[in-house]
Symmetry: C2
Subunit: 216 residues, 2 copies
DNA sequence: GTCTATAATCAGATAGAC
DNA sequence: GTCTATCTGATTATAGAC
């Protein structure tokens, strides 16, 4: 994406970026653990190991803190999509992205935002980095969805937008945490299970798939 | 459940119950709209039309307000389950409960709780009415799930607990609100769509089902 | 830029009269 | 039980020295 020629950045600027990356990492973890409303700026400052006032030199508000974390995750999603071979079967790419999303959540690296919070929504929708990323990812997934439907690997009865939302919703699926809390299944097994319910549904399959879930 | 003999309740007690029902209704609506954290006790008081201090004569804390709303919904769920014929195909009963849950959410009557909030969780888990209801509903659904798996209408590859969680998760599925926000589909169409993704999955079906989703 | 100290505000909960 | 008025604590954000 970015040119690798002449990274003319001062030492100070580099230090600043490192510091901000550390902040974002803490924010990301706290957002995943407790969500936006329960996360306090004091906790973030304590987690980074700097004073709260210093935080506000980097980010003008709590909302912007969360937005920065979301932008980082969105960038990762863009990179993930870009890394997939465009000549692969579209269904396989969709499955790979869905797996990646759920693995991120199970690892505690998926920030969870309340969809109702209006001030946060406003900040996020005003953030071009975030919105551009969201649109790019949606376009790419949308193209794969339509291609998969055209070749008959995703149901043609479903509007593409419903398929897209269903995949996005895996990023905040409570089934993942419920199964993890039970402690009965490994992260890999949980992902396999939810992949199965997502793509194959709960109904019995007439022909047993080779991607069958663990039976324990 | 309760005996209908000699409802010996004073007029005052009746008035109190009416008032508390009104409170719970407001709480329910606000929980569905904004969630627990964003809901303020002042809003509840304003919605009911009484002073905040009066609220605290009825419920000792904000958490108990939310718990009361949850108990009410849980009771409704118990009644819904009890109303289903026990000799019907178990899959049909499961589908009926899932439909009912999503209709409740689309109507704005499904309180949304942050699964991370610890004080709320504690209050809820200490509430016997709620926990008893949850256990009864889970037992009933669990029995239907196992029966459906035994007769081959729900996949035997999935642990029953995973199926149960997947059904519960429909109560807070963001796909419902996303599709509703789009304004392109009616509530009925949305429910049909999500029912399809839930039970049939995203994959193409070899044999087209008669419960196919709208194609627009 | 980082800090300590402090504003400013908001929300949950309570006191006390009636 | 309901009210007005208030307390208390937590939290976002800022002032101002260094």
């Amino acid at each position: 994406m970015r040119t690798s020629i002449a990274p003319r950045v001062s030492f100070k600027a580099q230090m600043l970026k490192v510091r901000e990356d550390a902040i974002i990492q803490v924010v990301n973890r706290l957002l995943a653990e407790k969500g936006f409303d329960a996360m306090t700026v004091d906790e973030v400052a304590a987690g980074v190991g700097i004073a709260k006032a210093s935080l506000y030199k980097h980010f003008p508000s709590k909302e912007d803190l969360a937005a920065a974390a979301m932008v980082k995750v969105m960038r990762q999603a863009q990179d993930m999509c870009a890394s997939l071979p465009d000549d692969a079967p579209p269904l396989e790419n969709l499955r790979a992205v869905t797996r990646w999303t759920m693995a991120l959540k199970l690892a505690g690296d998926m920030p969870s935002l309340p969809s109702q919070n209006s001030t946060l929504r406003a900040t996020l929708m005003a953030n071009h980095d975030y919105m551009d990323g969201l649109i790019e990812v949606s376009d790419r997934l949308g193209a794969w969805i339509e291609a998969a439907q055209a070749q008959g690997s995703i149901s043609k009865d479903l509007p593409a937008i419903a398929v897209l939302y269903t995949l996005y919703a895996r990023a905040c699926d409570p089934v993942l945490e419920f199964l993890k809390m039970g402690g009965q299944y490994s992260d890999e097994q949980i992902i396999t299970l939810v992949m199965s319910t997502c793509f194959d549904g709960l109904n019995a399959r007439t022909a047993p798939a080779d991607t069958a879930a663990p039976t324990a």
